[in-house]
């Protein structure tokens, strides 16, 4: 008897797949030159050190080769990418002042509604610039800063100069260098000592222009004993040309602080998503990564935690859903650089219809990280035999007084589990759908409610039995 194959439909991306006419106020020409970079810096009226940083990054970009590992990137032609697209508006703090078509876009994505109901602050970026930023007044009075990166460069220059691209230097890899040269937009968050935000801040990144790149920079500093939950959402309409996203996220979590960084990435399938995220975690501080990767043509994303202070903690919870034509290479990096540090990595992936899901990670336990703990659990679900799922973890352990466990599993929905549910009266399709939902549950439950609902919608399961 042939086994029946379960059908899980592609993630429904309709909600995100609408486009606005290109009404940008200014855009650079295609490609990448020192002139374009200087032009961007001038437009932003930047201090000299930032222009210097951009030009140095550009040099590094030109001499750095593409990574010799991971998904193929040959199809990306930088000469075809427009690196800077300025919308025809400035930064507003009232949705009514934002141009109607942009406001509509964010309305359709549900951002203003979420802001009213469940967020402490919102930033919205449209192509290369942030068009809206607002934060609840009571947080302002507590000294919380939440603004776009451009404003931060002007108004908080000292701290930005000290921290900007220090965690992710342009030398890190080719796309970090590219980011350093052409970065634009993004968010700056500063949470003062002891301030604990009860509800999240959210930045939403929308790329509308075809053939463009988005290079937003997010810099967050959570001071001693403070805590915040930051949510990042991204989407774009689908075009026939490749778009590029090479964002950079730098997080400084000071002593005893907690930062939760959640991302639901839902780029369209023409997006090359080559993103870099890194957190420096000090004594007894905690970074919590929640990461959902659903969209894009190609993704390379490995949020990393540097556990620098004694007792620092990192948790990573990630889900990756690779459908037709997608090559999603995701995972995590952790460096244990102090005693008593701990990390957990929990990763799940689904591959279907020829999609390729790769889990890639490195756990580094340095010599001084005595009594540290790390536990990695990684599970992959294969929906059919035209897809691929690879698991590529590295563990580099240089201290014996540590406790390291790693488990990985690959396979498909278990026949026994389906049978068990069916004996309890569930029809086969429902049993399978239930198991797939159960598979993503550990991630869904970590998300804020509206995002969990969102994810359930994303994984709209239409199951039908077909004779395999």
């Amino acid at each position: 008897m042939e086994k029946q194959k379960t059908r899980v439909d592609d993630i429904n991306r309709e909600r995100f797949d609408f486009r606005d006419a290109d009404k940008s106020g200014y855009k650079t020409g295609k490609g990448l030159t020192a002139d374009i970079v200087t032009e961007i810096s001038k437009m932003k009226n930047e201090p000299a050190w930032m222009l210097k940083h951009r030009l140095r990054s550009l040099e590094i970009y030109h001499r750095t080769p593409l990574p010799a590992w991971g998904p193929p990137l040959g199809k990306l032609n930088m000469d075809e990418i427009v690196t800077y697209v300025k919308p025809d508006t400035g930064l507003k703090s009232d949705w009514n002042e934002v141009p109607e078509y942009i406001k509509n876009t964010f309305e359709r994505l549900g951002i203003p509604k979420a802001e009213r109901e469940s967020l402490a602050g919102v930033g919205a970026q449209y192509d290369s610039e942030v068009v809206y930023h607002n934060i609840r007044r009571e947080l302002l009075s507590q000294g919380v800063i939440y603004t776009d990166m451009e404003t931060a460069v002007q108004e908080h220059e000292d701290i930005v100069k000290e921290l900007f691209m220090k965690l992710v230097p342009p030398q890190d890899h080719k796309f970090a260098a590219l980011h350093g040269a052409v970065w634009s937009g993004g968010s700056y968050v500063y949470v003062p000592e002891g301030v604990r935000l009860a509800i999240p801040l959210q930045s939403y990144f929308r790329l509308n222009a075809p053939g463009a790149g988005q290079f937003e920079h997010t810099l967050i500093v959570v001071e001693k004993g403070a805590s915040v939950h930051f949510i990042e959402g991204c989407s774009a309409p689908k075009y026939n040309v490749l778009n590029l996203h090479a964002g950079c996220v730098e997080l400084y979590v000071r002593e005893g602080a907690t930062l939760r960084y959640s991302t639901i990435e839902n780029w369209s399938k023409n997006m090359m998503n080559l993103n870099t995220k890194r957190a420096l975690v000090e004594k007894n501080a905690t970074i919590e990564w929640i990461s959902g990767t659903f969209g894009s043509n190609t993704t390379m994303l490995y949020p990393s935690s540097i556990l620098k202070g004694e007792g620092a903690r990192s948790t990573f919870t990630g889900i990756t859903f690779a459908g037709n034509g997608q090559h999603l290479d995701t995972g995590a990096k952790v460096v244990h650089a102090a005693p008593n540090t701990s990390s957990t990595v929990s990763s799940r992936s689904i591959s279907k219809d020829g999609g390729i899901a790769v889990y890639r990670s490195v756990i580094n336990i340095l010599q001084n990280a005595s009594e540290s703990k790390s536990s990695i659990v990684c599970e992959s679900l294969m929906m059919d035999s035209v897809s691929r799922s690879d698991t590529i973890p590295v563990m580099d352990i240089r201290n014996d007084r540590v406790d390291i466990g790693h488990e990985a599993k690959i396979g498909r929905i278990s026949d026994a589990a389906i049978f068990y549910l069916m004996t309890r009266g569930l029809p086969e399709e429902e049993a399978k759908a239930m198991i797939v939902r159960g598979f993503v549950e550990p991630i869904a439950k970590e998300l804020p409610l509206e995002y969990a609902v969102e994810m359930n919608r994303l994984i709209s399961l239409e199951l039908e039995g077909t004779i395999g």
Binding site: V394, M395, D396, D403
Partner: protein, 364 residues
């Protein structure tokens, strides 16, 4: 004398280059002269054919490609000074293990051995290759062992490397396992300065099975580099990779193990497991367990644990009067024993345990 420099133990897929795990560099010395191929000390019954040439052997080369790169293969072809072709006839069961003991000494400092084992349909045999060297002799060993296990045959290959701590050692195993056949490989890497060890087994036929058991010991400044892989090609194939390691003093190891499920290997199951006992604060322990999968109807699993001996277990043993060193020895023995027990030769088993005990006494 010729020198070989080659890149070996390449990973099937690369990862971050700065981690320095994607491959290893091999430098090896060729023999000064070519003595006649040895063979006098092979113990086997009259049923077993042992020849010193590979004439008439039809051996697909792809088994060993991944871990025996062209340069190393050519070097072995040219410089072999021991060549054995062991054929086990169809349906023959060889009761006693076939033992090849290779000892390097002042007169024979360089060994380049090339062994082919062909197990006829329905046959059953165990082969032990045992490498030792005289203390203080700068020994060089470069070896290749290839196996063809025909339908329904069962072969156990045991490769024990106990060369002196200054010796150079590079070794590659490649095996093809046909329908219904079972190949079990046991590798013990216990000596040499910088052992490079690779094994690549391909499960071709439906229902083929492979077991790959590895014990390794790092002491002094030994740096081990190991790369093992099982490829599931046939339907309903089963593999089990199990490694137990002990790291002492300032030793270092890189251990890569890969389960590769190729599309079409439906109904297959594979499991890899590594546990490492770290007994010194200065060891470096790198593990790269890969699961590669292009088929949905499979089950692949990996588990890795690493750390010092469990404190509760040490307390339990010590509460029975056993001192800490003896308790560590017991735990090291316990770690190795499930694998060592599978070696069908008591002398070899005892020799391995003796080596472990000695090195814990020195460095534990």
């Amino acid at each position: 004398m010729r020198q070989l420099a080659a890149t070996i133990n390449r990973m099937p897929v690369n990862t971050w280059r700065r981690l320095d795990v994607n491959e290893a560099e091999l430098v090896m010395r060729g023999p000064d002269k070519k003595p006649g191929a040895g063979g006098a000390n092979i113990q086997a019954s009259g049923q077993i054919q042992i020849r010193q040439n590979f004439e008439g052997l039809d051996f697909g080369e792809d088994a060993a490609k991944l871990f025996v790169p062209a340069e190393m293969g050519a070097f072995i072809d040219e410089h072999t000074n021991r060549r054995h072709f062991i054929r086990i006839p169809n349906d023959h069961t060889e009761q006693e293990p076939i033992v090849l003991a290779m000892r390097l000494n002042g007169e024979n400092q360089v060994l380049v051995d090339d062994v082919v084992i062909e197990a006829g349909e329905g046959s059953n045999a165990a082969v032990i290759l045992h490498y030792t060297s005289e203390n203080g002799v700068p020994a060089y060993h470069c070896g290749r062992t290839r196996l063809i296990v025909h339908r329904n045959a069962r072969v156990k290959l045991v490769k024990v490397q106990m060369l002196g701590s200054e010796a150079a050692h590079a070794d590659a195993i490649g095996g093809h396992v046909q329908e219904g056949a079972q190949l079990d490989v046991i590798i013990a890497e216990l000596g040499a300065a910088r052992p490079l060890s690779g094994c690549n087994l391909v499960l071709d036929g439906e229902g083929a099975g492979a077991g790959l058991d590895v014990v390794y010991l790092g002491d002094g400044r030994r740096s081990l580099d190991m790369s093992y892989r099982v490829e599931h090609r046939g339907r309903a194939t089963v593999s089990d990779i199990c490694a137990k390691g002990i790291l002492l003093e300032r030793s270092k190891k890189v251990f890569r193990d890969t389960l590769d499920f190729v599309r079409g290997a439906s109904g297959s199951k594979g499991r890899e497991e590594e546990s490492v006992l770290m007994l010194s604060p200065e060891v470096r322990n790198i593990s790269v367990p890969l699961l590669l999968c292009g088929e949905d109807d499979v089950e692949g699993e990996h588990a890795m644990t690493s750390g010092r001996p469990d404190e509760r277990i040490l307390f339990y043993l010590m509460s029975r009067g056993i001192n800490e060193l003896a308790a560590k020895k017991l735990l090291a023995q316990a770690a190795f024993s499930s694998i060592i027990e599978k070696i069908p030769d008591a002398a070899v088993r005892n020799e391995i345990l003796g080596t472990v005990h000695k090195s814990i006494e020195r460095g534990g």
